[in-house]
């Protein structure tokens, strides 16, 4: 069962902040975040392990709430280069190692 991402799409002006959520109905071991630009392959951003850790990548950070089985991706002071579709990939507790189930994506557009 695919994780649910919200919102499905968001439009920002450059410099604004955004939050993208990824929720699962299954207990998770890890959440992986990717960004995909139009016509290109998804690019790995970061991995979050159960335990609620938070990680950062430039001005993009993420958290993992183990109780809620939800991860959130935070984009601060957005730049034009942040435009693209963001996917979360989840790995279930007890699931086959290295198998990810991806959400349907959140399309982010940053404008001037």
């Amino acid at each position: 069962q695919q994780p649910v991402q919200s919102p499905q799409a968001v439009i920002l002006r450059e410099g604004e902040d955004a939050v993208i959520n990824c929720s699962s109905s299954k207990a998770l071991y890890s959440v992986h975040w990717y960004r995909q630009k139009h016509g290109e392959a998804p690019v790995f951003l970061m991995i979050l392990l159960k335990g609620g850790e938070q990680k950062g990548h430039e001005k993009i950070s993420a958290s993992f709430n183990e109780k809620k089985q939800q991860s959130s991706l935070y984009l601060t002071a957005s730049q034009l280069s942040y435009s693209g579709t963001y996917f979360c990939g989840t790995q279930r507790l007890g699931g086959t190692a290295s198998k990810l189930t991806f959400g349907t994506g959140t399309r982010l557009q940053v404008t001037l």
Binding site: Y29, H32, A41, F44, F87, G89, S98
Partner: protein
Amino acid sequence: DAGITQSPRHKVTETGTPVTLRCHQTENHRYMYWYRQDPGHGLRLIHYSYGVKDTDKGEVSDGYSVSRSKTEDFLLTLESATSSQTSVYFCAISTSSGGATDTQYFGPGTRLTVL
């Protein structure tokens, strides 16, 4: 760059014809995957491999078969292509050996159109 190439990059074929897509990696990774990407569905796993001649089904495996006779090559075959298999196909590798912190890296993709 995880050293992944896919061929062909674009293909147009007709319903009922067999099609084989190739994924090639240069870094000896054990795990390889085939996904399809369609609007509104994100990335869905077709098949994956955890070693030479070791493969398993993903969530959308009907109509597809795979083979891995060498570590570096993972082939996806559509035995008799249908229009519903029109999609963008991505190959991916995992950087570790099956652990929970493995990271997947994707190839450039193959756009397949079945007329």
